[in-house]
């Protein structure tokens, strides 16, 4: 029946296409508007105060940064379960370097560590030809273990530097002075979005995710591109780790356990497909924001944590189901 429709329904198509294209990202944005309206109504107008919205942004910034990398990985048909561990490793690396060096070097060191983790993921996926789910399940434990070993299973204290104020607001009253960390995220989001849409690398990611065999036939260097995308994802996860460090002010090898699931959820709510070839930065950010709004909204309503989890879980399933129905 599907075949018959595909063959014979050609004339009625253009309008359908236009409608679907509109819905591609508007779906998740509408979802965001909906949860905002819902909690706005329940909590009251103070929910929309600049300070509160900033809280939402700060809450979600770590997930967002890691999710930018995850979006690219998922677009290319992969997945990276090791981000939570890389975040932890990054906080440890930052704290350890800070003990003897300056903050800039500490940040660079942490990002380099993330790059190494990502490159290892990419190399294992491409050279061993094991599916990324399994590879990164392995490296998730591996990196977590490395972080714990490096930290000697303790929290690592570090001197206070400007790294600690990445997520702190300059309190001079104006709402525009958002924390540096948020500005960094916005700029990175812009770069990743433009990369996905307007560069050869980005188009190759979509091609690999949509059909790896087609990409290979067309001369795309699959392995090189995959190693690159996992490396970038590792670096972004490490940056998320620096922000986590900024929040904690210590290096903690046990932090961010399970963060990868939040990150993946953000991408999926935002329209990414685990079978690859689909995903967008706008969608992912909106997905992350939806989860943050629910979290903060629920806590401000005094709802217990379990309610928040049920709501978030339903949204994930609902978003994917909606996507299925639409296509």
């Amino acid at each position: 029946m599907e075949r018959a429709l595909a063959v014979d329904g050609s004339v009625g198509r253009p309008r359908v296409v236009a409608r679907r294209r509109l819905a591609e990202e508007t779906g998740v944005l509408l979802g965001l508007a909906l949860v905002l309206a819902l909690f706005g109504a329940l909590v009251g107008p103070q929910f929309f105060r600049a300070a509160n919205l900033e809280l939402v942004a700060r809450q979600t910034v770590i997930v967002c940064v890691a999710a930018l990398g995850m979006t690219m990985v998922i677009v290319a048909g992969g997945i990276d379960l090791s981000v939570g561990s890389v975040v932890a490793l990054s906080t440890v690396a930052t704290a350890l370097t800070l003990q003897s060096h300056g903050p800039a070097l500490a940040a660079a060191g942490a990002i380099a560590a993330g790059a190494v983790c990502g490159a290892v993921n990419g190399l294992l996926v491409t050279q061993l030809r094991v599916v990324p789910f399994i590879v990164t399940l392995g490296t998730m434990l591996l990196v977590r273990g490395a972080a714990k070993g490096l930290a000697d299973e303790r929290r690592i204290e570090a001197p206070v530097t400007w790294l600690n104020s990445l997520l702190r607001t300059a309190r001079d009253g104006s709402g525009l002075w958002l924390p540096t960390g948020i500005w960094i995220t916005v700029v990175l989001a812009l770069i990743v979005a433009l990369t996905l849409r307007y560069t050869r690398f980005g188009r190759h990611l979509f091609a690999i995710g949509s059909s790896e065999r087609t990409a290979r036939l067309c001369g795309v260097r699959i392995n090189r591109t995959k190693v690159a995308v996992y490396t970038i994802a590792g670096m972004l996860a490490a940056l998320a780790g620096i922000m986590e460090f900024s929040k904690l002010s210590v290096g903690d090898p046990t932090v961010s356990i399970g963060l990868e699931l939040d990150v993946i959820a953000a991408v999926i709510i935002g329209g990414g497909s685990l079978s690859g070839g689909k995903g967008s930065v706008v969608g992912t950010l909106a997905g992350a924001a939806i989860m943050a709004v629910i979290q903060i909204g629920c806590s401000q309503l005094g709802l217990p944590n379990w309610v928040q989890q049920i709501v978030t879980g339903s949204i994930i399933v609902g978003a994917v189901a909606l996507d299925r129905i639409r296509s």
């Binding site: 014979d8 004339v11 198509r13 050869r200 188009r203 087609t214 036939l217 067309c218 001369g219």
Partner: protein
């Protein structure tokens, strides 16, 4: 109406579809179509892609409900609400691709859904199951298929037989074969035809859907042609010439199906020396079409993939236009080679991506400076090829999966044109596409060699090779024979060579 005629229709027609009409929105897919099949008769249903064959069969199978018209099965009104109802009434469909449960055995597949049971707990009666399966296979004259082989271990041809056995075991009244030969090798096609003949004699009513007119001529008693959702003509197959049927399908003459302007082969652009696998030695010149004939599984696709760097070269040498360099597909594209995959859905096209992305994927470089892809330029480029190749799509952003088979293939071919390669390696370029698109692809090939491009054409369809190529080499049992001028070949000699029967 004559009384005798009416009686004959009542008594003889196993299936009768009258005045069938179906529209999707504003599109009329079928308009006043009629089809009649008698017991002991093979009725061929032919037409281009989009002519309405699939819709008509979907209505018969209960997947779609007609807007108007009536159906009768054995003279009784037949209006299935869903596919299950149609199946229970005795409509069995065999599709292009085998649809057996791969992990179940042959007999489990044959009785799937109608398993014989025993006792109040409905325990599956395996002995009875085996009996039914073996009886059904014996009816087909294929006792060579063991009842407890897992379906996945069977060849496509054997899987198809099991599907037919399943249809017969469930007591089908009307058997629909939809392009049954598309994944079969020559020998299996012959055996399938013998089987169809036997089923016919046993009094089965068969609808045979095919693109291949030769097959229709060979296998059917009557034919019905659909064109643009209408009944374009019908008749007794023995009385109709192939050209007549094709004209009914396309609505015009087909003398121009294989155009051929004078060709002037130039210098050698691709040279294969003892390339393994394939033991292939071949020189391809500019301005000529070299065909590689062979049966399914002869290793033609493997050879092409090796040449294009998709599979490793075991030994031998491949020289492209005197250029050296790597053998990765990326290097091959750079050296001026382009390949069209025979597996359009799995490899040829990224089905989720847009027409524009698929057209330009191999060569994004000219679409912007230094690693950038400018959407405006991509759109302009894609639109150009959509117009030139008359690809039917909403616009360049439409996902390629939504296009018809013919248009999809044009997108895949368009990629080679966008890349402007010197050597086009075309693996089964007309597989599963309608006659109109086929003709356009033949015209395109002729036009390309006229502009001094070289084409390697692999096809299982010998008339196409004979019509299009300048030289043909035959591949049999994993070895490529010497390329000889097309005038030295005919269908018979190609088949002899391909099946390993050497003349003299």
């Amino acid at each position: 109406m004559h009384a005798t005629q009416a009686r004959e229709a009542r008594e003889g027609a196993r299936l009768e579809m009258r005045g069938i009409r179906k529209s999707f929105g504003a599109t009329v897919a079928l308009d006043d179509v009629h089809l009649e099949v008698r017991a002991g008769e093979v009725c061929a249903l032919v037409g281009q892609n989009g002519a309405g064959k699939s819709t008509l069969m979907a209505i018969l199978a209960g997947a779609l409900t007609p807007d108007a018209g009536t159906m009768r099965l054995d003279g009784r009104p037949f209006a299935p609400d869903d596919p299950l109802a149609a199946r229970e009434a005795g409509v069995a469909m065999i599709h292009q691709e085998p649809s057996l449960a791969p992990h179940l055995t042959v007999m489990e597949n044959i009785v799937l859904g109608v398993e014989p049971t025993r006792g109040p707990l409905a325990i599956v009666d395996r002995a009875r199951m085996r009996q039914i399966a073996e009886a059904a296979l014996a009816d087909l004259g294929h006792t060579d298929i063991a009842a407890d082989t897992p379906a996945a271990d069977l060849s496509p041809a054997a899987q198809q037989l099991v599907e037919i056995a399943r249809a017969l075991a469930s007591g089908c009244r009307i058997l629909v074969l939809d392009e049954p030969t598309s994944s079969l090798a020559h020998d299996d096609v012959r055996r399938l035809f013998e089987l169809i003949g036997r089923l016919k004699q046993q009094g089965n009513a068969i609808v045979y859907i095919s693109h291949f007119i030769e097959e229709v001529k060979q296998v059917s008693d009557r034919f019905v042609v659909l064109r643009d959702g209408r009944h374009a003509g019908s008749g007794t197959t023995a009385d109709a010439r192939s050209e007549d049927i094709v004209s009914l399908m396309v609505g015009r003459g087909v003398d121009v199906l294989y155009p051929r302007q004078p060709r002037a082969p130039g210098e050698v652009v691709l040279q294969l020396d003892e390339v393994m696998p394939g033991a292939a030695t071949l020189a391809v010149r500019r301005g000529e079409v070299v065909g590689i004939a062979g049966l399914l599984g002869a290793g033609r696709t493997r050879l092409l993939r090796t040449v294009f760097g998709l599979e490793p070269v075991k030994s031998g040498r491949i020289v492209v236009a005197a250029q050296s360099g790597g053998a990765h597909p990326r290097d091959r594209w750079r050296q001026g080679l382009g390949m069209l995959s025979e597996d359009r859905a799995g490899e040829g096209l990224a089905r989720g991506l847009s027409v524009a992305d698929n057209l330009t994927l191999s060569r994004l470089e000219p679409l912007g400076p230094r690693g950038i892809v400018l959407p405006s330029r991509q759109r302009a480029t894609a639109t150009k090829w959509i117009e030139r190749l008359s690809i039917r799509c909403a616009d360049e952003r439409q996902p390629v999966a939504e296009l018809s088979g013919g248009s999809q293939q044009k997108v895949a071919v368009g990629r080679l044109l966008h890349h402007d390669v010197d050597v086009l390696i075309l693996d089964e370029p007309t597989k599963g596409i309608d006659v109109g698109s086929k003709a356009e692809i033949y015209r395109l090939i002729d036009d390309l060699v006229g502009r001094q491009k070289a084409v390697i054409l692999v096809s299982s369809y010998f008339p196409e090779l004979l019509g299009v190529c300048d030289r043909i080499a035959v591949m049999a049992r994993g070895r490529l024979g010497p390329a000889r001028g097309v005038e030295e070949w005919n269908e018979h000699s190609l088949l002899m060579e391909a099946s390993g029967v050497r003349a003299s």
